[in-house]
Symmetry: C2
Subunit: 188 residues, 2 copies
């Protein structure tokens, strides 16, 4: 029911289709043939825009990274209270985790399929995780938290726990525990 005919230029269609399929079914299980079929694109066009499948995977994660950065940027622009921003980030995480289409974190899922830490895809994942940790640390510094670095690491744990647990356990029960988890993590 949700198989829309993709719109716009070829590159956009490819990336949109790849995002949907890679996220919902995994990277290695989804072949190029399937992507070009569902994106309604010729094979030569695909390889014109992306020299190899791994480049598409990287572009998929890079786009997701940009999307999250923009969302956080928008959140920080509306609020001057860093504590509220922090809580809102985690509430949003729980909300998306409770959605039907949720299937975990695109970055950790991809990492599971790319074991080599030197691979370009893993570099993008590492960038994303450094950005996440820095984001938490900056917000904690803005709050005036005395233990920013270690607490940011603890918040990363909770973040990972939410995305993993929302996929594999009961997302509602998990969502109900997020507020308390963050609250306890911040206590020092």
């Amino acid at each position: 029911m949700s198989t829309h005919i993709p719109q716009g230029p070829a590159r956009t269609r490819i990336l949109g289709t790849a995002t949907r399929l890679f996220y919902s079914e995994g990277v290695h299980t989804v072949g190029i043939d399937r992507i070009i079929a569902e994106a309604a694109v010729a094979k030569a066009t695909f390889y014109h825009h992306f020299p190899a499948k791994d480049e598409l995977v990287r572009a998929y994660l890079e786009a997701e990274f940009a999307r999250q950065r923009d969302a956080v940027e928008a959140l920080r622009a509306t609020s001057t209270d860093p504590g509220a921003t922090l809580v809102k980030i985690f509430e949003n995480l729980g909300e998306t985790g409770a959605g039907a289409a949720f299937r975990g974190c695109p970055f950790t899922n991809a990492a599971a399929e790319y074991p080599d830490p030197a691979h370009p895809v893993r570099q993008t994942i590492a960038d994303y995780r450094r950005w996440s940790h820095t984001l938490f640390r900056d917000l904690l510094a803005d709050i005036g938290h005395p233990d920013t670095d270690r607490t940011a690491t603890i918040l990363m744990m909770i973040r990972d726990g939410i995305v993993v647990g929302s996929d594999l356990d009961d997302p509602q029960a998990l969502r109900a525990a997020i507020g308390e988890a963050v609250c306890r993590a911040l206590r020092h």
Copy 2:
């Protein structure tokens, strides 16, 4: 340097080789041909013991599940202090996470490659996660914690954070934060 010639009966060799390869490189990237080659087993023998690859994946996770159950059982048998047991479980997690061969949680990694929640492999993963949550909840009850269920959920988050972060971030920095993370999670 670590490619040992496998020992023992064929089934053990297959499962041992599969465990090593599936964990270090992923499930879909490792083919049957490679497993039978490194296990020094004939193809017919493989399919005699495991009717399909997915059955081997399931057996691999089931064996890992049993190993962890045994380890926890041994830990609970030596100590009568449930709080110390809980802390030790998390310390052990951080220790294995800091090891060179660590590549995240076998169960969450496998889940990333099996998107269908109804798949037998996902059932095993769900069993494992239910067991983990129940373990935490039982230990919290033994301590006399007033909020066992929600706190167990928070401990699950920290557990997931440790296994994900040990693989993708700096395992040493993460390990140094585990004690504090558990301590804050237990505070009520």
